[in-house]
C-alpha cells in the first residue's frame, strides 16, 4: 500500500476505515507457526474468562470446526450449568477470538430467521435454550436447531415478492451452534448432536470474578486498554487461514486396534458411531488451526493437510471428559450427586438404624443429609435430581411412611461395566501412535517434515473442584446462591417459578 494512502488513512482516524485497513494489511500471527499455538490461544482466552480452562479451550475448538471444508465436520456444543455459572462469559470470550463477520450471538430467534437469515454465519450462539421448561427460552426452535446441527436445513417457502406465486428454496449446510442451558434434563436427540461442556459455579470462581470486577473498577488503565483494544490476533489470523483445505488423519486406521484387549472406541455402545465422528472432526479442527505447521499436499485442484498424532491426542485430552459426560447422558450436577452417593454409601447407617429402618436399608443415605453436604438450596431441587437419576436407573429411592413420613433414603445403583466412550488410557493411545510414527507409512507421509508435538497440559492450572467433602462445616452450611444460612428441612419445598412455598412446614434439622 502506498505511503500516501497509509498517511491519509491515519490522518482520517475513522474507525471503520482503520479496521478495514488493518484487515487488508493483516498477516497471520507468528504464533500460528509455533507448536505451542493452543497454549497461546488458551492464554488469550484466559485474559477474559478465568478458570474453566478445558471448557473454554474446548468451546474454542468446537467453534474452529465451523471453518472445516466438509460441513459434516462442523461440531456444536451445549454449555450446561447453573444460572451465573459463566456460560455466557465463556461463549463471549471464545467468540471474541473469531472474525466478527463469521458469527452471531442471539438471545432470541425465530425458526424462520434461523432457516433464512443466518446463512452467511459460520457460528450461531444462543444465550439460552431451555427446551423442557414451560415458555423456556427459545424452546420453539429446538427442532430447527437439531436439523441445523446435524445435516443442515432445506426449506421451501412461498415468495412474498412474487405475490406467493412462486416458492423459494433455501439450503443451509450444517452449522456450528453453541448454546447455554440451565436445564439438567437430557434430550437424547439433542445431546448426541452436541458436545456437552459443563460450566460449574463454585466459590473460587466467584472470588476471582469478584476480585477482577473490583480491581477493574478502580483501574484507569483498564478502561484505556479496553478503549484502544485491537481485534484479536487469533481472529485476524483465522480470517487469513486457508479454508479451502481437506484434512487427512493418516493414522486413523490404527485407532481401530485394541490396547490390552480393549477397543479405543467401545463398539458395544451405539453412540460410539457419533462420538468417533465427533472426535475426528475436532481433531481436524485442531489440525486446521495448525495448518501452517503441517504437511500440505496437492492433488488435482484439492489441497490436503495432514494431521499429526498430537492433534488427535489434544482432541482427546480436551474432550474425552466431555464426551464421557455426553455418553453417560447425565448432567454434571447429577453426576456430582451420584458420585457423592457412591463415595459415601453406608455413612448414615447409624442414624438410619436408630430411626428403625430394616437392616437392608442401613447402607443407604439420608437424602436431606446429602442435600446439606452438597449445599443444594432446596428440597425440590434434590428431589428432582434424584428422580432424574432414578429414571435413568442410576439411583434408588426409598420412602417408608410407617417409619418416617419425612425421611427419604437414596442409594446408587451399581451396574457392571463402564459408561465411558473412551475406555482406554490416553497415554496408551499416545504410545500406540508413537509406534505408528516409526512406521514406513508415516515416514512416507511426513518425509522430511519435522514433527514438533505439543500436548496441552491442564495440570499446569489449579483445577476447580466443587466442595463435596461431606463434612458439615459452617462454610458448607451456606446456600450456594444467597450465601445465607441454609435451612435444611425435609419438607421445605420452594417452587422456583412463582416463589411460593408448597409446604409451610419448615423443620430445622438441628
Amino acid at each position: 500500500m502506498s505511503e500516501a494512502l497509509i498517511k491519509t488513512i491515519k490522518e482520517m482516524n475513522d474507525k471503520d476505515v482503520l479496521d478495514e485497513y488493518k484487515r487488508i494489511t493483516a498477516v497471520i500471527d507468528s504464533k500460528f507457526y509455533d507448536a505451542e499455538l493452543l497454549k497461546h490461544i488458551h492464554f488469550e482466552l484466559d485474559k477474559r474468562h478465568k478458570l474453566d480452562h478445558r471448557e473454554k479451550l474446548g468451546t474454542f475448538i468446537v467453534a474452529s470446526s465451523s471453518y472445516l471444508l466438509d460441513s459434516r465436520d462442523h461440531c456444536s456444543c451445549a454449555l450446561k450449568g447453573n444460572s451465573s455459572s459463566g456460560k455466557d462469559s465463556n461463549t463471549d470470550t471464545v467468540l471474541a477470538h473469531f472474525p466478527k463477520e463469521d458469527w452471531i450471538k442471539v438471545t432470541r430467534v425465530t425458526t424462520a430467521t434461523l432457516e433464512d437469515d443466518v446463512r452467511d454465519k459460520k457460528i450461531v450462539a444462543f444465550s439460552e435454550i431451555n427446551k423442557n421448561r414451560e415458555n423456556g427460552a427459545n424452546a420453539e426452535i429446538v427442532e430447527t436447531f437439531k436439523q441445523l446441527a446435524e445435516g443442515g436445513t432445506t426449506t421451501l417457502k412461498k415468495d412474498v415478492k412474487t405475490g406467493f406465486k412462486t416458492a423459494i428454496r433455501t439450503d443451509q449446510e450444517q452449522k456450528t451452534l453453541i448454546y447455554g442451558t440451565t436445564e439438567t434434563e437430557s434430550d437424547e436427540e439433542l445431546e448426541t448432536r452436541y458436545v456437552i461442556i459443563p460450566i460449574k459455579g463454585y466459590r473460587e470462581k466467584n472470588r476471582i470474578v469478584v476480585n477482577d470486577v473490583l480491581n477493574k473498577a478502580s483501574d484507569e488503565e483498564y478502561y484505556l486498554r479496553k478503549h484502544n483494544e485491537e481485534e484479536s490476533w487469533v481472529a485476524v489470523s483465522i480470517s487469513l487461514l486457508d479454508k479451502d483445505v481437506q484434512i487427512i488423519i493418516p493414522f486413523s486406521k490404527i485407532l481401530s486396534e485394541k490396547i490390552d484387549g480393549k477397543e479405543i472406541f467401545d463398539t458395544a455402545k451405539d453412540r460410539v458411531k457419533r462420538d468417533v465422528k465427533r472426535i475426528m472432526s475436532l481433531t481436524r479442527a485442531i489440525t486446521w488451526l495448525y495448518q501452517k505447521q503441517r504437511v500440505v499436499k496437492y492433488a488435482g485442484d484439492m489441497t490436503f493437510i495432514y494431521a499429526e498424532p498430537s492433534d488427535f491426542l489434544n482432541a482427546l485430552r480436551i474432550f474425552a471428559d466431555f464426551i464421557n459426560l455426553t455418553y453417560s447422558g447425565v448432567d454434571h450436577r447429577l453426576q456430582r450427586l451420584l458420585e457423592y452417593t457412591e463415595k459415601n454409601i453406608g455413612k448414615h447407617a447409624e442414624e438410619i438404624k436408630a430411626m428403625g429402618y430394616q437392616e437392608r436399608y442401613h447402607d443407604w443415605l439420608l437424602r436431606h443429609k446429602v442435600q446439606k453436604a452438597l449445599k443444594i438450596g432446596s428440597v425440590k431441587t434434590i428431589r428432582d435430581w434424584c428422580s432424574k437419576l432414578a429414571d435413568k436407573n442410576k439411583l434408588e429411592i426409598y420412602k417408608d411412611d410407617y417409619v418416617s413420613k419425612k425421611t427419604v433414603l437414596i442409594r446408587p445403583v451399581t451396574l457392571l461395566g463402564n459408561n465411558l466412550a473412551l475406555p482406554v488410557n490416553i497415554d496408551d493411545i499416545d504410545r500406540l501412535l508413537q509406534v505408528w510414527l516409526e512406521s514406513d507409512s508415516a515416514k512416507t507421509i511426513y518425509q522430511n517434515h519435522k514433527i514438533t508435538p505439543f500436548i496441552v497440559d491442564f495440570e499446569d492450572y489449579s483445577f476447580e473442584s466443587e466442595d463435596d467433602s461431606g463434612v458439615f462445616t459452617d462454610e458448607n452450611d451456606m446456600s450456594e446462591v444467597t450465601g445465607e444460612e441454609l435451612v435444611v428441612t425435609e419438607e421445605y419445598v420452594c417452587d422456583d417459578s412463582d416463589n411460593k412455598f408448597e409446604h409451610q412446614k419448615i423443620l430445622k434439622e438441628e
Partner: protein, 167 residues
C-alpha cells in the same frame, strides 16, 4: 460532433479489464445541439461493433474504484492547482492533473490499493481528501460521471488536457 477514434475504445476496455466494469456515456451540449446518451457498461459494449462505436464516441466515464478525483470548480486558478499538486507530491500520491476543457481542473489520483477497500470505505477516503483540498464533494461518489481524459469536453469541444503529473 465528437471525433471517432479507435484509441479511446481500446483505452476504456483496458481500464475495464484491469479495474472491473464501469459505465460510460457520451453527451453534447454545444449551442443548440443537446444530446446525451444513456450510461452503458464497457463490458457489454465491448461485445459488439455497435458497442465499440459507442465507446469511440464516449466522452464521460464513471469514477474508477481505484481513483480519487479532485474537481477544482471553484476559485479556479493555476496557483491553486499547483498548491494542491505540491501537497499531493508531499504525500507521495501518484496523480495526473488535467484542464477539463471547460473552466476547471481535474486531478486524477490513482491508488490501486483502494480496490481492496469496500465502497463505503472508499467513499470516506475520497470524501476526506476532497474536503481537505476544498474541491467538489459530489465526485466522492463512485457513481458520478466525469470527462474522459484527452477527449473533447461535451460543452466546449475543447479536449481535456494533461497539465501536470506527480513527480
Amino acid at each position: 460532433m465528437v471525433e471517432v477514434t479507435t484509441e479511446i475504445a481500446s483505452r476504456l476496455t483496458k481500464l475495464a479489464n484491469k479495474y472491473g466494469d464501469f459505465k460510460v456515456a457520451w453527451g453534447c451540449a454545444r449551442g443548440e445541439e443537446k444530446k446525451f446518451s444513456k450510461r452503458q457498461n464497457v463490458d457489454a459494449l465491448m461485445q459488439s461493433d455497435k458497442g465499440i462505436e459507442f465507446l469511440n464516441k464516449a466522452n464521460c466515464r464513471q469514477v474508477l474504484p481505484c481513483e480519487i478525483i479532485l474537481d477544482i470548480d471553484d476559485k479556479i486558478s493555476v496557483e491553486r492547482l499547483n498548491k494542491i499538486c505540491d501537497e499531493l507530491d508531499e504525500y507521495g500520491f501518484s496523480y495526473k492533473a488535467y484542464s477539463t476543457g471547460s473552466k476547471g481542473y481535474h486531478i486524477h489520483i490513482f491508488e490501486e490499493m483502494l480496490l481492496k477497500f469496500s465502497e463505503p470505505a472508499r467513499h470516506k477516503i475520497r470524501h476526506y481528501l476532497i474536503s481537505k483540498f476544498e474541491c467538489d464533494p459530489q465526485i466522492a461518489s463512485g457513481n458520478v460521471l466525469i470527462a474522459i481524459e484527452d477527449m473533447p469536453h461535451f460543452k466546449t469541444g475543447v479536449p481535456k488536457t494533461l497539465v501536470r503529473e506527480s513527480k
